[in-house]
């Protein structure tokens, strides 16, 4: 130490503290050694694996959606394309003082005409991309854009981008077929994992937009970015160009589609002026709240038109459905506009099903089409315990198959059903279930495979169905009773009632199969994928054909078909025919058809009509279904007539007027 010490005791103390100081020095050295060792381990021992962790930390992949393909009709008319829109964006990563931030939000909210709170909510949208400015207003008016540009200094972090949004030149035309775009949800993200979707993206929902999502969407731009902890982009590491989506050419004819939608709307409106007599004998007006028109090309299954009412406006979905609109769409009083009734509506087909009963009866040998039958207006079944009547208890007198179809004699087909039940009862299921089997052959009881989302199967009842249906019944006695296939079940099925449910597209497919001589075509909506931008104003450049899908041949024989066809022609042309009034003035023999008036308790009767045209070489099948509109001849028939007029070349036929009928 080189210095003297104080008192002896002081010297002792200082000597004592020297020892303690030495101990402290050792402790300090140990601590520093520990630090050095850890440093060595972290930076030299472990360094490579940690460097990789650092890399994954700051490299992010951003996918910018490509220009979406267009949707064209069969003649190249543009049903959906893209148009540029101004999008006001806000850069969340711009460094602003809290005061600046509030000021900018206040000013911007004022310009956009929304509250600051709403704007903040849009800026904080958790579904927006983390690495790009957040869109806060889509489709801003040019005035706002000009103002924002002129006052750029007052709006830091605010920018205006031009983006492509979906455009519908024909408005709501074919809305159900086209579908719409909406923000991707969690389920969709999961379902499309690995396909480059990110939260906040638009995805096709429903209709063609959904079915052809992968085609329309193309390939997004792939951007590999180096970002900092705040998400700001430091460097672009990789940039792969976007590939625009292909156009989709539909089999829909925009002109026919328009007429179909108009006619359906006119028919529904005019049906609401018709009076219905309730079971209690009271009068009320028909509600006619919904319906559909389906036009199928009988030769290949192409859908020429598919209308469903009430309809929706795809434009409202573009930037998320506003809450009140969503509420309206799901309110029962709005009659479920989101449903495409052509593929998702299930109805008892009523007399339109007699086509199947006729073919089943002939082919199984249960029915002799030429044998005269005396229609007394009623038929007793189940050993006389039940009596079934014609509509209006009308007796049609002596009929054969074709005239029974023309006048729509229920009793004639009750008889067929009753006879079939007797075969069922004897254990001859080939004859006993002839209708069910025939219905399945013609496409009922399962989705047609048109590809539209949410298509339903309908229902073909038999004993197995009944026992399945009643399985949950806890009381064994009634369960056994209700599981029996009874005479009344066969009789009801024969006239398209009972537990039978079908979709309009199934009816159309079955009649198309009948009309073309027995070939089942899967209905199709699109005929080709075209290179982007071709097909409307440039010659179509087909990327891929989507040929018609031919299914099985049925056992339909030409003479059988002719006999039934003559009955259907009579229904339109014959003075006694059910649709004679609706088609008055039409050239005889150009249209065949069948009315249907289906009981659908507790609802009012469903009005159906199926038209086939032309008769000698059928091209089109038109199926019109109007809910709660009464007789098929009163509403669905005139709707179909107007659509057929359009198919025959009249672009603007006279408006539909529903007429109260004389009979079904």
């Amino acid at each position: 130490m080189g210095v003297g010490t104080g008192t002896t005791s002081g010297a002792r103390v200082i000597e004592g503290s020297r020892t303690r100081l030495t101990v402290i020095g050792v402790v300090v050295m140990a601590l520093f050694s520990a630090l050095l060792a850890r440093l060595w381990f972290l930076q030299i021992g472990e360094s490579s694996s940690l460097a990789a962790a650092a890399t994954s930390n700051r490299v992010h992949v951003v996918l910018e959606p490509a220009l979406r393909g267009r949707i064209l009709d069969r003649n190249g008319k543009v049903l959906v394309d893209n148009q540029p829109a101004n999008v006001v964006t806000f850069d969340r990563h711009k460094r602003l003082t809290p005061k600046q931030h509030d000021l900018v939000i206040g000013r911007l909210a004022e310009q956009l005409g929304i509250t600051g709170k709403e704007l903040k909510k849009r800026i904080d949208n958790p579904r927006a991309s983390q690495y790009a400015p957040v869109p806060v207003a889509v489709g801003a008016s040019p005035d706002i854009v000009t103002y924002l540009k002129e006052h750029e200094r007052d709006f830091p972090a605010v920018d205006v981008k031009r983006v492509a949004v979906r455009n519908y030149p024909f408005g709501t035309l074919a809305a159900h077929v086209l579908g719409y775009l909406g923000q991707i949800n969690g389920n969709e993200l999961e379902a499309h994992k690995g396909e480059g979707y990110q939260p906040g993206y638009l995805i096709g929902k429903d209709g063609v937009e959904q079915v052809f999502e992968s085609v329309l969407r193309g390939k997004p731009r792939y951007l590999k970015l180096e970002v900092d902890a705040q998400g700001r982009v430091a460097k672009i590491l990789q940039d792969r160009k976007a590939v625009p989506g292909n156009d989709v050419q539909l089999t829909i004819d925009a002109d026919v589609q328009r007429v179909a939608e108009e006619s359906l709307a006119q028919g529904m409106l005019s049906a609401r002026r018709l009076r219905n007599v309730t079971e209690q004998g009271k009068y009320e007006l028909f509600r006619a709240g919904g319906g559909s028109v389906t036009v199928l090309d009988a030769t290949d299954g192409s859908v020429v038109a598919m209308a469903s009412a009430p309809t929706l406006d795809p434009r409202k979905f573009a930037s998320g459905i506003p809450p009140d609109e969503f509420k309206r769409l799901n309110d029962p009083s709005s009659n479920y506009p989101l449903i495409n009734r052509a593929v998702q509506g299930q109805y008892p087909p009523g007399s339109t099903f007699k086509l199947i009963t006729s073919m089943a009866g002939i082919e199984s040998g249960v029915l002799d089409p030429n044998a005269p039958y005396d229609d007394k207006g009623f038929l007793d079944i189940a050993g006389g315990t039940q009596r079934r009547y014609n509509a209006g208890k009308k007796a049609h007198g002596t009929v054969t198959l074709d005239s029974a179809l023309t006048v729509s004699s229920d009793v004639y087909f009750y008889e067929v059903g009753r006879n079939m039940w007797q075969f069922y009862n004897k254990g001859d299921l080939k004859k006993g279930y002839a209708i069910q089997d025939e219905a399945r052959r013609y496409g009922f009881g399962k989705p047609t495979g048109i590809g539209l989302p949410g298509e339903v199967s309908g229902r073909i009842p038999d004993q197995k169905f009944k026992s399945d249906f009643n399985r949950a019944n806890p009381d064994p006695k009634t369960r056994r009773e209700q599981s029996l296939w009874l005479p009344g079940d066969s009789v009801s099925l024969a006239v398209g009632q009972g537990d039978l449910l079908v979709t309009p597209i199934q009816i159309a497919q079955a009649y198309a199969t009948f009309a073309n001589g027995g070939t089942v075509h899967t209905p199709r909506l699109a005929s080709a994928l075209l290179a982007p931008g071709t097909g409307s104003d440039a010659p179509p450049q087909v990327v891929r054909e989507l040929p018609a899908v031919k299914g099985a041949e049925t056992a339909l024989k030409p003479d059988e078909r002719d006999m039934i066809m003559s009955g259907l022609v009579g229904a339109v042309a014959n003075g006694l025919g059910t649709a004679h009034t609706a088609f008055s003035g039409f050239q005889s023999g150009t249209v065949a058809g069948k009315t249907g008036t289906a009981e659908s308790k507790p609802h009012q009767d469903t009005s159906l009509f199926v038209g086939v045209t032309p008769v000698d070489k059928p091209q089109y099948v038109v199926v019109s279904v109007v809910e709660e509109a009464g007789f098929g001849s009163a509403v669905a028939a005139p709707v179909t007539r107007r659509v057929i007029e359009a198919l025959q070349g009249n672009p603007n036929p006279e408006a539909v007027v529903a007429r109260p009928p004389s009979t079904d």
Binding site: G4, I14, S17, Q43, L50, A229
Partner: protein
Amino acid sequence: MATIAPPRPLRRRGLSARRAWLDATALRHVDLVLLGATVVVSLIGLLMIYSATRHRVPADPYYFVKRQSVALTLGFGLVAALLAIDYRKLRDSSVLAYGAVVLSLLAVLSPLGSNTRGAQAWFQLPGSFQLEPSELAKFGIIVALAGYAHQHRGEMDPWRLTVTIALAAVPIGLVMLQPDLGTAMVLGLMVIALLAVAGARPRHLVVLTLLGATFVFAIVSLGMLKQYQIDRLTGFIDPGAHKQETYNTKQSQTALGSGGVTGRGLYHGPQTQGQFVPEQHTDFIFTALGEELGFMGSALLLVLFGLIVWRTWRAAMLARDFFGTMVCVGVLALFTFQIFENMGMAMGIMPVAGVPLPFMSYGGSATVTELACVGLVANVGMRRFS
């Protein structure tokens, strides 16, 4: 015995010429290694603060550097001023130092102090500067306890031990009330080190250390406090990001590891430049250094710290009087614990606590206090012969 220079006669030599001579003589023995290492570490700190904050204020990339430079200038000015005054004068004002510490800690808890990030720990000064009295308290407590220990020449009987602990407990308790558990722990360990050298019995020290640890553990872990109080207490751990503890250390270790031997290069550390590590210009400044300058840079810093601590230890050994020894031991304990806790936390071997890295972390009060401590040690060291 006679060679010892008692303070009283020294003070009586009132001649300015004599004092100037004395000072010049003492200045010849000033520890240039200690001061040089401090300057170098401070400059490295300034560089790393710039690297970590140059994107923080877009209008002024030097914003934090400028403010830290003010603190450094002030601190080195204080070093110069402290060298000019004989440290033994401070010995007599130790009561004053203690009073000032307690008063300022009381004042900061009053409405005079301001509350940031859940701790009532700052005085707001003009020019958006802040004063953190708990940092200055480190200096004050060292001087006060060294003064008390000197008076009793290290005869630490149980009574004096109790008095010392009571004296220390008041400011430490006030710091805990802010709450700033990190600083309180630094102060506590510093007191234990001082007591150790002052002559407290090892048995007492062990008991004291255990008591202190149990106390901290009880406060934080056992249900003695309501949840929000625990959160506030543990909130000091990483200011403003209580729940991000693991995030911080993970990011910090990732950054250090990715530095490797030579580092990512100054201004090229992705984690630092991307600001992935919160508080990387204050408590996690070591992370920036480790990532951008690698093992070479980190080890160099460790060596420089080692130099500072070694020279402080040496000054304690060579001190002319017991007060000087005690002052140096206090500074030694302060620096060692802060360095070990801070770097250890960045490397994941110590829990996260809001303790600054001496001369490196951005922060005026801490920087000034640490430089004042260096001044004190240099003062003791250069007057070892006089």
